[in-house]
């Protein structure tokens, strides 16, 4: 029956039900994903944020809170200019992190994890 109203979903982050497997997979390849302190330098300097709403800080937070879909959507707004890696005070190789995130989202990491590690070692 339609009562003419609906209930909206709770916005609470329930860490009991949060699936962190994607974050753990990224963390394994790029341990630096965990050292982001959410300063926002990357988002402030992002050339495409104005047009696409891209914010790497939010992407990292989203995957730590189990919001994979939002992260994936936002990540598509990146144009890989690499400006964020110049400003990160923690020295995270953000451009490489974004590429890794893309691979993990596409499920390619399982095959290429070894290759990426090889690349990292270089």
């Amino acid at each position: 029956m339609d009562f003419g109203f609906s209930l909206s979903q709770s916005s609470t982050v329930n860490l009991d039900k949060t699936d962190l497997s994607l974050f753990h997979r990224v963390h394994e390849i790029e341990p630096d994903v965990a050292i982001c302190m959410a300063c926002g330098s990357c988002s402030a300097t992002c050339t495409s944020s104005e047009f696409t709403g891209m914010s790497l800080r939010s992407v990292i937070l989203d995957i730590q809170r189990g919001r994979q879909e939002e992260a994936r959507k936002m990540l598509s707004g990146c144009m890989l200019c690499g400006k964020c890696s110049m400003v990160c005070p923690r020295g995270i190789n953000t451009r490489r992190l974004i590429l890794t995130l893309g691979r993990v989202f596409d499920g390619e990491d399982r095959n290429t994890r070894r290759d990426i590690r090889k690349e990292v070692r270089k």
Partner: protein, 296 residues
């Protein structure tokens, strides 16, 4: 040893600071007396397990400090009854019945931990699996605490419990809790490698040498989760587990998590100064009418 009152320095408090001060004064050729109210030296550190930021043994530090007290007059289980000023010396009456004349006094009376049960909303003393930082150190040392179960899978740390808190009557920052929480989180992760560990913080104050490196290590190598937001409310579910509610202020959303153990980082409260200063900030001279066995 013949005691020269003008060269005698009374050090009040036998914690790490008092021990260090007494040892250095002795090296300078002075005659320190170290007075400690409890029956052992080391203060809070004597109850601790390991120390930040290098995981060195707390007991080793206390031992090292005690070994450096050669030639220092150490009086345990002794308190200061009163202090008054003579012409150029201080006259101090001790609870042991002896009185001491000295040229200077060092106050190293340290701190007490905030009684966590005062923050009732965190449930210390009410729920089964809520402990303090001091309790956790005791558990690291003894392995005995019914509140810490054998299969801990989820642990939370609450920063700033009773510090930076006007309502709790202590507006000061305790300065070392942030780094202690990180140390304890790492130690916990080493005990329970499978556990997810969450630190709820307002902001992290990691000012000291190697503290920041330690923080990065906790994040990158130990995978400890840091959630910015002060815990607002703690409850218990039907299984007896701790349910924590906070705001994840970076996401701008409420956050909820069920834990096997919650550790409250009880803050530091300065101990009251044992010296009876007058309005001008000086110790009052000896009263004429105070006669008795301590009269000079």
């Amino acid at each position: 040893m013949k005691r020269t009152p003008s060269k005698t320095v009374l050090v009040i408090g036998g914690g790490i600071a008092g021990m260090e001060a007494a040892a250095r004064l002795r090296q300078l050729g002075l005659q320190p007396i170290l007075v400690e109210k409890s029956d052992h030296l080391g203060g809070h550190v004597a109850d601790w397990h390991k120390l930040f930021p290098d995981m060195s043994e707390a007991a080793a530090l206390v031992e090292k400090g005690a070994a450096a007290l050669d030639g220092v007059d150490v009086r345990l289980s002794t308190e200061i009854l009163f202090v008054n000023r003579l012409r150029s010396l201080y006259n101090v009456m001790l609870s042991s019945g002896s009185n001491v004349q000295c040229g200077a006094i060092v106050v190293a009376t340290g701190f007490s931990l905030f009684p966590a049960e005062k923050k009732e909303e965190y449930g210390y003393g009410i729920y089964d699996h809520v402990i303090t930082n001091a309790d956790l150190e005791k558990w690291f040392n003894t392995g005995e605490d019914p509140r810490v179960t054998d299969d801990v899978r989820k642990v939370g740390f609450v920063h700033c419990v009773g510090s930076r808190d006007l309502k709790a009557g202590n507006t000061e920052c305790s300065k070392v809790c942030c780094i202690t929480a990180i140390k304890q989180a790492i130690e916990m992760k080493e005990h329970f490698p499978e556990a997810e560990i969450y630190c709820f913080y307002m902001d992290l104050r990691l000012f000291g040498k190697r503290y920041e490196d330690y923080y990065i290590k906790a994040q990158r190598d130990y995978g400890i989760h840091f959630i910015r937001g002060r815990v607002s409310e703690v409850g218990e579910n039907i299984e007896g587990k701790v349910v924590v509610k906070a705001e994840d202020t970076l996401s701008g959303r409420p956050v909820k998590v069920t834990l096997d153990l919650l550790v409250l980082m009880a803050g530091i409260i300065r101990n009251p100064d044992p010296l009876p200063y007058d309005r001008r900030g000086r110790i009052p001279p000896k009263q004429r009418q105070s006669r008795g066995h301590h009269r000079i």
